[in-house]
């Protein structure tokens, strides 16, 4: 008898034809883990085994769709019962919607841990996997990070197949493609590439497919694990060419723009490749409201981004180095309030920015019930006390409050705004408007240098595209979209 494969060398090992050996092999590979269920039964004289993982299959479905038909099976006496059962399960019945034939222990383990019920028959060196998954999962809920008023209230869940159905329900086109891959040497996480065959550039799909297949990580738990493998210059760029969304309706608009999306099992956040800078300022509600109102709101968001990034730095630069540019009354007020504080403006703003970041981090990490207490403690008690005790000036509190509020308007750029804001404060504090200019050009150049998949991150503004920029400076009307819908390929730059 050959030795059983173990968890290190099972992947390419062929399934034995002897049932007792198969059971032994399965126990050996899994180390006879406690959640492995092996049921040996005799169907019409054929020794069979049904192997499942506890909690991963639906017991009701198993009873109705597998046990009942198999127990009622009649095989003619002149026929080999082993072959008969195999023929029945694989060719003469529709026990479940999903059915795979397995030849190696690699595929056995993949399906077993994915919640399939596996049937092995003595004398048949193959396994049959039946899709009757029934593990516990979260139901479809509202989006947590992309709220909207008038759009859909459904968000992706942690289960990849549910997410696929959410997309298919909204996009009933035969050109919609789902390509499933397994990534992660140990976790074998299901990853699905989603794109529209007639809209996504084939080279982009190929590149993403190759990149995903080349990942050699042990585990892939969330979208952040695979993002660095798709984005080539992730270390050099402040922003990211790969966006994410937890909304199926947003994902559908993205794939309709010719983008490629990636669903990852176990996380409700899917990746969007590539994403453009201006997309951070768009919401699904924009297309539900009047065009003029959306245009107004978009400009408010652009202003919010500017305030969140540069306002404290400009304030420090103007107040410390170029006070002559400020209005006289404002200057006198600022001067009076600054005279009462012990530290220079630059130090003051650093203190209050550190406080702001501390409170923001605390409110995210703490349970939501306690999180609101942090904002009361931070906003009312610490802020008020700091001003009254003269550590910081009152105008500065307004500046920081405005900056914080502005940064909440664009949550997708939260990481970047926090860090770039600090860079602007240092630049403004160290060299006034000259420092601001240097910092601005370095940041703008860094953003403009991003062109993953040969598509500039700053498109359609720079390089300018008349057609694309209509939906940036205003909101494109549906009638114009009806006439010509631009895709991501329109922004491709020649090499």
């Amino acid at each position: 008898m050959s030795s059983s494969p173990d968890f290190k060398n099972y992947k390419d090992a062929k399934i034995s034809s002897r049932l007792d050996q198969i059971i032994l092999d399965c126990r050996s590979i899994t180390g006879n883990t406690m959640d492995l269920n092996v049921m040996e039964i005799n169907i019409c004289g054929a020794p069979c085994a049904l192997i499942t993982i506890e909690g991963m299959v639906s017991t009701n479905a198993m009873a109705e769709l597998v046990f009942q038909p198999l127990m009622g099976l009649n095989i003619p006496k002149d026929e080999n019962p082993n072959v008969g059962v195999y023929q029945f399960v694989t060719k003469e019945s529709l026990l479940t919607a999903e059915r795979h034939i397995l030849y190696t222990y690699g595929s056995v383990m993949q399906d077993l841990f994915s919640g399939f019920a596996l049937i092995f028959i003595d004398g048949i060196p193959k396994g049959i996997a039946l899709g009757i998954q029934g593990y516990e999962k979260k139901s479809i809920s509202e989006p947590t990070s992309e709220h909207n008023l008038m759009g859909s209230q459904e968000a992706f869940t942690e289960v990849i197949r549910t997410n696929i159905s959410l997309i298919r329900r909204r996009m009933k086109s035969p050109s919609l493609r789902f390509e499933m891959l397994q990534v992660g040497e140990l976790s074998s996480t299901d990853i699905c590439i989603v794109y529209m065959q007639d809209k996504a550039p084939p080279e982009m799909v190929d590149r993403i497919r190759k990149k995903l297949k080349s990942i050699k990580l042990d585990t892939v738990i969330s979208s952040g694990y695979i993002r660095p493998f798709i984005e080539e210059r992730i270390q050099e760029n402040l922003f990211s060419n790969i966006g994410s969304t937890e909304r199926p309706d947003v994902l559908c608009t993205k794939i309709n723009d010719g983008k490629v999306c990636i669903l990852i099992d176990g996380t409700p956040f899917s990746l969007v490749c590539p994403t453009l800078f201006v997309e951070n300022f768009k919401t699904i509600d924009d297309y539900c409201w009047k065009s003029y109102f959306t245009t107004y709101l978009r400009w408010i968001r652009y202003l919010a981004f500017f305030l969140a990034v540069a306002f404290p730095g400009i304030y420090v630069a103007a107040a410390s180095y170029h006070p002559e540019m400020l209005n006289l009354k404002l200057l006198l007020n600022l001067s009076a309030s600054e005279q009462a504080t012990p530290y220079p403006l630059f130090v003051e703003i650093l203190i209050i920015m550190a406080l702001l970041e501390l409170m923001r981090e605390a409110s995210i990490r703490l349970p939501s019930a306690v999180g609101s207490a942090i904002s009361i403690v931070g906003g009312l008690i610490i802020g008020d006390a700091a001003v009254k005790s003269g550590i910081i000036s009152a105008p500065l509190l307004i500046i920081v409050g405005l900056t914080a509020t502005a940064s909440f308007i664009i949550p997708s750029l939260n990481q970047q705004t926090s860090v770039i804001r600090l860079a602007f404060i240092f630049a403004g504090g160290a060299a006034g408007f000259f420092g601001i200019a240097i910092c601005a050009i370095v940041v703008i150049a860094n953003v403009c240098a991003m062109d993953e998949f040969n598509i500039p991150y700053t498109a359609p503004v720079s390089p300018f595209s008349k057609r694309g920029s209509v939906d940036v400076f205003t909101r494109a009307s549906f009638k114009s979209m009806e006439k010509s819908h631009s895709t991501i390929e329109d922004y491709t730059e020649d090499k």
Binding site: A317, A318, Y321, H322, E324, M325, L326, N327, L328, A431, G432, F433, F434, I436, A437, I438, A440, I441, V442, I444, A445, N446, C448, A449, D451, P456, T458, V461, S462, P463, F464, E493, D494, K495
Partner: protein, 350 residues
């Protein structure tokens, strides 16, 4: 090397020109009308000077003069590359020096010239290293913001405008215009950059050249009019008229615009320095094809900084005036060399 569109190229050249226009140093006896006429004539002359290079481009299917000269004779190729490299280095020195000198002059308490030079060189090296397409995209954003802020500055001094300051009565207009021409032609560095980087242009060059020259003329005339009509005779006393002009500008929100001016002036300066760093790198690449890009960019900036800094520290920057030699060099680089190469036989395509 990535290609850029005609509009992007115009924007880059325009940003460089904006820096030159904003750094305009007037001669004592110059008159508003004379300066405007000189600016118009210079633009027409530049348009004529660019005809040979456009013809060369059309004849040789977009081949650069460097690769063409190299294919004819290696020494000729190297000589042309050195001439253009020297001009690029001079443009680097000129821009770095001007920026540093005027920043120190206007904000002497805040900035030291050596620190400005180092910071500018580091920022330009970073932007140059990202490539011409990144520079083009960056410039697209900066040009729009700069133009908007310029309009803002221009709207802030409507009460100070006085048409009498134009001094329409000129004693000897022809002589004065001819006297001003070398200085204006010497400020054609952008066109040299255009010739060096013409290979990166996606479209035909004529549109870019004449588009740029038209917009440049408009901006120059508006700027000169604004400076002359607002500052009047005070122009002659001001070392940096545009800075003084922005100090005059006032709105209900901002009392003085000089800090604002400095912000956008610095941005345009970095664009110009970056452009000429890329040009220097391109010329060095023609001479030493195997040299690493970042090394040649770093070397160009280092040489420019090493030449500029001692001049600034010895306070001799204002004494440097090579307008006549520069204008002659411009004519040679812009027209004579392309004209000579135009007479060579077209290279057979492979």
């Amino acid at each position: 090397m990535r290609k850029i569109s005609s509009l992007q190229f115009i924007t880059i050249l325009l940003c460089c020109k904006l820096f030159t226009v904003m750094t305009y140093i007037p001669d004592i006896d110059e008159n508003g009308v004379v300066i405007i006429i000189a600016a118009v004539i210079t633009t027409i002359l530049q348009g004529i000077l660019m005809i040979p290079i456009i013809a060369f481009y059309n004849k040789n299917n977009g081949e650069s003069i460097f690769s063409f000269a190299n294919s004819k004779n290696r020494i000729l190729g190297i000589t042309i590359s050195i001439l253009f490299l020297l001009t690029s280095l001079w443009a680097l020195i000129d821009s770095m020096g001007d920026l540093s000198f005027f920043l120190e002059y206007c904000f002497s308490d805040t900035y030291a010239s050596w620190a400005i030079i180092i910071i500018i060189a580091a920022a330009s090296l970073y932007v140059a290293h990202t490539g011409i397409s990144t520079l083009a995209r960056t410039t697209g954003i900066i040009a729009v913001v700069t133009l908007i802020s310029l309009i803002l500055v221009l709207t802030g001094f409507e009460h100070h405008i006085d048409f009498v300051e134009l001094n329409i009565a000129v004693k000897s207009p022809v002589n004065d215009v001819i006297k001003s021409l070398p200085k204006f032609i010497s400020c054609s560095q952008e066109l040299v950059a255009f010739i060096i980087l013409m290979e990166t242009l996606r479209n035909r060059p004529a549109r870019t050249v004449y588009g740029f020259l038209s917009i440049k003329l408009f901006i120059s005339v508006v700027s000169i009019l604004a400076v002359v009509m607002v500052l009047g005779d005070y122009v002659s006393l001001s070392k940096l008229p545009f800075y003084t002009l922005s100090a005059f500008s006032q709105t209900k929100i901002i009392e003085h615009y000089e800090a604002f001016f400095m912000l956008f002036w610095t941005l345009c300066a970095i664009i110009k320095i970056t452009l000429f760093t890329i040009c220097s790198q391109y010329c060095i690449h023609q001479i030493f094809p195997k040299l690493n890009t970042i090394i040649s960019e770093g070397c160009s900036l280092f040489i420019a900084a090493a030449i500029t800094l001692p001049i600034l520290l010895k306070e001799k920057w204002e004494a440097i005036n090579f307008a006549k030699i520069q204008s002659l060099a411009m004519i040679i680089l812009l027209a004579v060399i392309p004209l000579i190469l135009l007479f060579f036989k077209k290279r057979k395509s492979n």
